[in-house]
């Protein structure tokens, strides 16, 4: 048996529904249809009345979740694509994110954002919005890169008392597989050393983990050992693990799929520069997508985001500077 990233998300939601009567799922087409990507397949039948099709109203969907959370429920809401969360934006950043600070009442909602680029998806079905949400106080932003994390982090997302923006990468949905679902998990909030190395540190997350691991692999025959860190959550950001790695390697490349201005990469570099300046043997580097909307044509898309070969090339620069 093997389980995909998408199946892991489905299985975690199933377990959450089974374990906790306060959990329900609300979103467009999540009911009998099972969701645009089938992340809620069969759940409506398994849990009658608890997995419901929503009207085409992202603002109201998130608003409903906040109200339900006030009353003690633990809603999971699905945005059909991360890109559409812009129309539920206000409820996320001003309603959900401020509730605890203002009223002392936690807001245990999970907003699932099918994120990131895929072939031919174009400007409005490809976005990576983790940095936008992480900028706002009051939100936890998860960016699982593995099947195991997709599962265990979804379970933790449902169980913690705060609003979680769950950025699941669509490119990993069907292709990324594991032998089985994990029994144990690293605590959320801790980054993971996905590959140990000594010559340079790559900090990355979500789908870019796999491009980065490939780049690290490609550099082995050139004699380089690259350490790759998977952030897992971008807020909180596990600065300690990053600094410890940079302390060993002295070199840092941060890789992300989001746009270049600001974002996770800027935050990581900024933390290392301010808190670990002395650890750096060379200028840190970063790789982002380009500063345009995500293009539709496969050739443009391939040139818009970092890929393993670009990462490897940049690492060569970093290693020899």
């Amino acid at each position: 048996m093997s389980v995909t990233y998408l199946e892991a998300i489905r299985a975690a939601q199933e377990k959450a529904l089974a374990d906790d009567p306060r959990v329900f799922i609300y979103g467009q087409d999540v009911g009998s249809f099972g969701g645009a990507f089938k992340a809620t397949k069969n759940l409506a039948a398994e849990f009658p009345g608890r997995v419901m099709d929503a009207p085409l109203s992202e603002d109201a969907i998130v608003g409903l979740a906040v109200g339900a959370a006030i009353e003690g429920a633990r809603p999971i809401v699905e945005m059909q694509f991360a890109d559409f969360s812009t129309v539920g934006f206000n409820q996320i950043v001003n309603q959900a994110a401020t509730l605890y600070y203002r009223t002392d009442i936690p807001c245990p909602i999970v907003v699932r954002l099918p994120s990131g680029g895929t072939l031919g998806a174009g400007p409005f079905h490809s976005q990576s919005m983790e940095a936008v949400y992480a900028h706002y106080p009051g939100l936890v932003v998860m960016t699982p890169a593995t099947v195991e994390d997709a599962y265990s982090m979804m379970l933790e997302a449902v169980s913690i008392d705060d609003p979680v923006i769950f950025c699941e990468h669509k490119l990993l949905y069907y292709h990324l597989k594991a032998d089985k679902l994990p029994d144990t998990a690293q605590p959320v909030g801790k980054a993971r050393i996905a590959r140990a190395g000594r010559d340079a540190t790559v900090v990355t997350y979500s789908a870019m983990l796999h491009e980065s691991l490939q780049a690290a692999e490609d550099l082995v025959e050139e004699g380089w050992q690259i350490e790759v860190i998977d952030l897992r959550t971008v807020k909180p950001l596990d600065t300690d693990t990053i600094l410890a790695s940079v302390a060993r390697t002295g070199r840092l490349l941060v890789v992300g799929e989001a746009w270049p201005w600001g974002g996770v990469n800027a935050e990581v570099i900024s933390r290392v520069a301010t808190e670990g300046f002395g650890l750096l043997d060379a200028a840190p580097m970063r790789l982002n997508a380009r500063d345009t909307p995500v293009p539709y044509h496969p050739d443009l898309w391939a040139a818009h985001r970092p890929t393993a070969s670009v990462i490897a090339a940049r690492l060569r620069q970093l290693l020899t500077q």
């Binding site: 329900f24 009345g49 608890r50 929503a54 009207p55 109203s57 992202e58 603002d59 109201a60 969907i61 998130v62 608003g63 409903l64 979740a65 906040v66 109200g67 339900a68 959370a69 006030i70 009353e71 003690g72 429920a73 809603p75 129309v87 206000n90 409820q91 001003n94 309603q95 994110a97 401020t98 509730l99 605890y100 600070y101 203002r102 009223t103 002392d104 009442i105 936690p106 106080p137 009051g138 939100l139 936890v140 913690i160 008392d161 705060d162 605590p187 959320v188 909030g189 959550t233 807020k235 909180p236 950001l237 600065t239 300690d240 933390r271």
Partner: protein, 346 residues
């Protein structure tokens, strides 16, 4: 599916005199509280804005007075009266405006943003319309838990009806057939913007049919009419007849906030029925229907003013929050707090 928009002209005879008295005293208390807030503002003792509901006390009181423990109330800007009728206190009002650490918002948020959500008293954010789906969500969770007979009331202005959030929220409530009463206080203006620049329908109640929900209309300057209309609407929601929309016409008798002299308000409106002071209308109604005498009302007014003074005395002696003792955390799960807080080092 209830689609007919009903209109009802109301007489007072369905209402219990004790309720009429209670409602009127809440209105008086709200007015006295707000008068005091206005003087505090003028004296520079409140930092930030002061937003009052003068002229809207009757409708606001009616909005929440039929709610019970376990119901949900999501008030908006002009709902000082409805808040008090639902259980908010004058003390918490002043505490919030003055930023007392003992207030429900602990100085973190102010003025009309207060609430005690655990007690069904939701705390609005500023973004108009945004509360509608939240109250709907509260009702949704209650129903999921098997609770019946719960009602949620929220209010909105003529301006707020133009927001996408209002639309999505009311529509969702209608689809889910939630026991939500949406009270539209059509006070003719959104800040300075007149209705003619806000909507083009002949009557805001025409919106009810578009959502497939029941509609009621009343004169918001008339306390008896407001009470009777809201009683019907709340009862209909409680009986499971889905969302109810109440449209009341009235005028706010103050500025948008105390910084605003409302010079844009059409003088003719002030003179018209819509510009009546509901407290005066209510006094006449109570006296004419032999529920109270002018003396009673004078006594209640004094008592309201005294209550306001007492509360203010307490609130003014309370301390604000101490920045050094704040945890400066926006999430509740401590282990997931993001470690990066520059100012903390200072």
């Amino acid at each position: 599916m209830v689609t007919a928009a009903k209109e009802k002209t109301v007489a007072c005879n369905d209402l219990d005199p004790a309720l009429l008295v209670r409602a009127y005293r809440v209105m008086l208390l709200a007015r006295a509280t707000e008068d005091k807030l206005a003087s505090l503002y003028r004296a520079g003792m409140i930092k930030g804005g002061v937003f009052l509901g003068k002229g809207q006390e009757a409708l606001s009181t009616a909005s929440s007075i039929f709610l019970k423990k376990g119901d949900i109330f999501g008030p908006l800007i002009r709902d000082q009266a409805g808040r008090l009728a639902f259980g908010d206190t004058v003390l918490d009002t002043f505490r919030t405006y003055l930023g007392s650490a003992k207030g429900p918002m602990r100085g973190r948020d102010g003025n009309i943003h207060r609430g005690r959500p655990r007690e069904g008293y939701y705390a609005m954010i500023s973004h108009l319309g945004a509360l509608v789906p939240v109250v709907a969500g509260g009702l949704y969770a209650r129903r999921l838990r098997g609770e019946t007979g719960v009602v949620g009331v929220t209010s909105i202005g003529d301006g707020g009806t133009s927001t996408g959030a209002f639309h999505e929220g009311v529509n969702l409530a209608a689809v889910e057939r939630l026991p939500l009463v949406v009270v539209i206080a059509n006070n003719q203006y959104a800040y300075s913007t007149p209705n003619s620049r806000q909507f083009a329908c002949a009557d805001l109640l025409d919106k009810a049919a578009g959502y497939g929900i029941a509609g009621f209309k009343c004169d918001g300057t008339d306390p008896f009419a407001s009470l009777e209309t809201l009683q019907l609407a709340v009862q209909a929601a409680r009986e499971g007849r889905g969302p109810q929309m109440v449209v009341a016409t009235l005028l706010r008798l103050v500025g948008h906030g105390e910084h605003d002299d409302a010079g844009y308000v059409d003088a003719a409106l002030r003179q018209a029925n819509v510009g009546r002071d509901c407290l005066e209308v209510g006094a006449t109604q109570l006296i004419e229907s032999d529920v109270a005498t002018a003396d009673d009302i004078a006594v209640w007014t004094k008592e309201a003013q005294a209550e306001v003074e007492d509360a203010l005395n307490i609130a003014q002696r309370e301390k604000g929050p101490d920045p050094a003792e704040e945890d400066w955390q926006a999430i509740s799960t401590e282990r997931l707090a993001d470690g990066h807080h520059d100012l903390e080092d200072e």
